[in-house]
C-alpha cells in the first residue's frame, strides 16, 4: 500500500468534503473486501482513504413507500438475513448467499458490491483494465476463460464482478448518488459502464460521488430468482449468473427481466429471452428455450465458449427456481 491519510466522517456531507477531483486524491472505504486488496496491489493509490463505516445514514435496510431502501453500507450478511429482503426478493438473498464466504458477507457491503473493480486477472496483474499491449488485446487470444462473451467487441473484455447488480437490474432498482453539487437517482443498469478508453472505469461514478442507498421497488407478485454457476461451493466467483424477475398474469408471464452476470463488462440484459417469455407459463421446455434465447448473439473469445453453455443452464435454472419448479 502507498501511504495515505485516513478520515472517518460521520455524515455524508463530511464525507463529500473529504473527496477530491480525482480517484488518486481520495478513495472511499466501505467493507474493504476489495478496496484493501486494491490498495495493497497499488492498483488504487490515493492520497486519502475515507471510511464510511461511521456514517450512520448509509446503514440499514428499511421499508419505503414503494419497496425497500438498502443503505449502501448495509452488509451482504444483513441483506441475506433481512426479513424485508427475504419476504419479496429471493433473487437478492440467493445472490448474497453466493458471495464468497461468511467473513466476506460480514464485511462486504451492498454499495461496495456495486462499486468493486473487476476481478480480471490481467487488470489485477497490472496489465490494465483494457489489458492492451502494443495496441493488441492480451485477452482476446490469451487466458480468457473467465472473460466476457457479450459486450466484448470493444477494448473491454473483462466481466463485471458485481453479485447484486444483475438481480437489482432485473428488479428495476435505482441507486441514489450524491456529490457536492447534489443528489441524483439512476437505474442500477445505468450505473454500470463499459469503458472504451483508458482512464474510464466500470461505473459512471466520479471520484467525488457516493452511493448512499439502493431503492428496490416492491416485488410483491414478481417471481424472482438468481442462479449462479460456480465450481467451488464457497470462496469462488460465479462463472455465469442469471437473475430473473417475472411479473405474472395468473400462471403465465406478463413481463420478464432476464439479466446475466459475469458474462459482460456490465450486467447484461438478455432481452430476447425476456421477450420470448411473455405470455408463457414457465415449464422446463420454456425455460430451456429462454436459456437458448439468452445465449444468442454471444461472441465468445478463444477459450470461453463454454460460458455460452453456462448461460443457457443458468437462465433455465433461474427461471425454474423463480416459479418454484
Amino acid at each position: 500500500m502507498q501511504a495515505f491519510e485516513f478520515a472517518s466522517p460521520t455524515s455524508v456531507k463530511e464525507a463529500l468534503g473529504l473527496l477530491g477531483a480525482q480517484f488518486s486524491d481520495a478513495q472511499l472505504l466501505a467493507g474493504g473486501t476489495d478496496q484493501i486488496s486494491l490498495l495493497k496491489e497499488r492498483l488504487h493509490h490515493p492520497k486519502r482513504v475515507v471510511s464510511l463505516r461511521n456514517v450512520k445514514e448509509l446503514h440499514g435496510i428499511k421499508k419505503t413507500g414503494g419497496g425497500i431502501r438498502i443503505g449502501a453500507m448495509a452488509t451482504v450478511d444483513e441483506v441475506m438475513e433481512s426479513s424485508l429482503v427475504r419476504a419479496e426478493y429471493p433473487s437478492l438473498v440467493q445472490a448474497a448467499r453466493g458471495i464468497a464466504s461468511p467473513q466476506i458477507r460480514n464485511m462486504g457491503t451492498m454499495g461496495g458490491d456495486l462499486c468493486q473493480r473487476t476481478r480480471c486477472w490481467y487488470y489485477r496483474n497490472h496489465l490494465g483494465l483494457l489489458a492492451m499491449k502494443d495496441g493488441k488485446s492480451l485477452v482476446a487470444e490469451g487466458q480468457n476463460e473467465y472473460h466476457a462473451i457479450f459486450g466484448n467487441s470493444g477494448p473491454a473484455k473483462f466481466v463485471s464482478a458485481s453479485s447484486f447488480g444483475p438481480a437489482l437490474v432485473a428488479l428495476g432498482a435505482t441507486v441514489t448518488v450524491v456529490s457536492p453539487s447534489g443528489s441524483r437517482s439512476m437505474k442500477v443498469a445505468d450505473l454500470f459502464h463499459t469503458p472504451k478508453e483508458r482512464g474510464e472505469r466500470e461505473t459512471v461514478l466520479k471520484s467525488n460521488e457516493i452511493i448512499t442507498e439502493i431503492l428496490v421497488p416492491s416485488a410483491r407478485g414478481v417471481k424472482n430468482a438468481t442462479y449462479e454457476v460456480r465450481q467451488k461451493q464457497a470462496l469462488d466467483w460465479p462463472l455465469v449468473a442469471a437473475s430473473v424477475a417475472l411479473t405474472m398474469k395468473g400462471n403465465s408471464v406478463g413481463s420478464a427481466m432476464v439479466v446475466l452476470g459475469h458474462v459482460a463488462p456490465t450486467p447484461h440484459m438478455a432481452s430476447a429471452a425476456a421477450s420470448m417469455l411473455s405470455g408463457k407459463s414457465i415449464t422446463e421446455d420454456v425455460a430451456a428455450q429462454a436459456g437458448a434465447a439468452a445465449a444468442q448473439g454471444a461472441t465468445p473469445l478463444s477459450g470461453n465458449t463454454y460460458k455460452v453453455d453456462l448461460v443457457k443452464v443458468a437462465v433455465k435454472r433461474a427461471l425454474l427456481a423463480a416459479v418454484g419448479a
Binding site: 485516513f6 472517518s8 464457497a234 470462496l235
Partner: protein
C-alpha cells in the same frame, strides 16, 4: 436458521445494545483515534448531537499514529500507519500471533478474527478503522477459566496437521456456532466455507465442529 437479530431498524441498534462498539459507528472511538481529548465530549450528549456539533473530522496520517484498540476485552495502545492492517497490527506490533497471514487478500481465512461479534478477515481490515470495535482473536478462547470446547474438539478429531490454518478455522467455527448452535453436517460445510487448508484436514474439522456444538450444549464450558 439463524438466531441473529434483524438489522432493519439500524439507527436504534447501537443505542439499544448499550454497547458503544456494537454498531461500529462510535463517535467517541473515532475522536479518540483522531487525537481529540475526551474532555471535548460532554458526558451526557447523545451521539446524534455530537455528530451535529462536531467540527469536520480530522484527517490522520499518512505517518504513524498511536491508536487504541479493544482487543480481547482490553484497551491496548498501538502505533500504526493508517495503511496498517488489523492483522499486521496484531501480529507485528502486539505480538498476538494466533491469526496468520497467508493470502493477505481476504481469500483464505487464516487471519480470521471476530469484530463486533462477527467473523472477518483481519488482513482486510485497517487497524485504524477498527477503533471502537470489539476485536476478539484466537487467544480469547483460552482466556476463560476453561478453554473453549472447540479447542479440545479440534484435538480429539485431529482437525489439523501443520496447524497454520487451524486458528482461523477455530475462530470461524466459533463465529459459526455462535449463530448456529445446532448445526447439521451440511450446515457445517457451508458455514466454514471461508477458510482454506492445504494439508487436507477438513474431515477432522467437520467432526470437530459437530462435537463442539454438542459439548457446548452439554454445558461443558458452562
Amino acid at each position: 436458521m439463524s438466531s441473529k437479530k434483524e438489522p432493519e431498524v439500524h439507527s436504534t441498534r447501537g443505542a439499544a445494545s448499550g454497547n458503544e462498539s456494537r454498531g461500529g459507528f462510535s463517535r467517541r472511538g473515532f475522536l479518540r483515534g483522531a487525537g481529540v481529548t475526551s474532555g471535548v465530549l460532554g458526558g451526557g450528549l447523545l451521539e446524534q448531537q455530537e455528530a451535529e456539533a462536531a467540527p469536520p473530522p480530522s484527517v490522520i496520517g499518512p505517518g504513524e499514529t498511536t491508536i487504541s484498540l479493544n482487543v480481547n476485552g482490553k484497551a491496548v495502545k498501538v502505533t500504526v500507519e493508517p495503511r496498517t492492517t488489523l492483522l499486521d497490527a496484531l501480529r507485528e506490533r502486539l505480538e498476538i500471533t494466533g491469526a496468520k497471514r497467508v493470502c493477505d487478500r481476504g481469500t483464505c481465512g487464516a487471519c480470521t478474527v471476530m469484530v463486533d461479534g462477527k467473523v472477518m478477515y483481519g488482513c482486510t481490515v485497517l487497524a485504524i478503522d477498527a477503533q471502537g470495535r470489539k476485536i476478539e482473536t484466537m487467544e480469547s478462547l483460552s482466556m476463560g477459566s476453561k478453554p473453549h470446547p472447540l479447542i479440545q474438539a479440534f484435538v480429539d478429531n485431529d482437525g489439523m496437521q501443520c496447524g497454520y490454518c487451524t486458528p482461523g478455522f477455530v475462530m470461524a467455527s466459533k463465529g459459526f456456532l455462535d449463530r448456529n448452535p445446532n448445526p447439521t453436517y451440511d450446515q457445517v460445510k457451508e458455514g466454514l466455507g471461508g477458510n482454506l487448508c492445504r494439508c487436507g484436514t477438513y474431515v477432522g474439522v467437520r467432526k470437530a465442529v459437530l462435537q463442539a456444538a454438542k459439548d457446548l450444549k452439554g454445558g461443558r464450558n458452562a
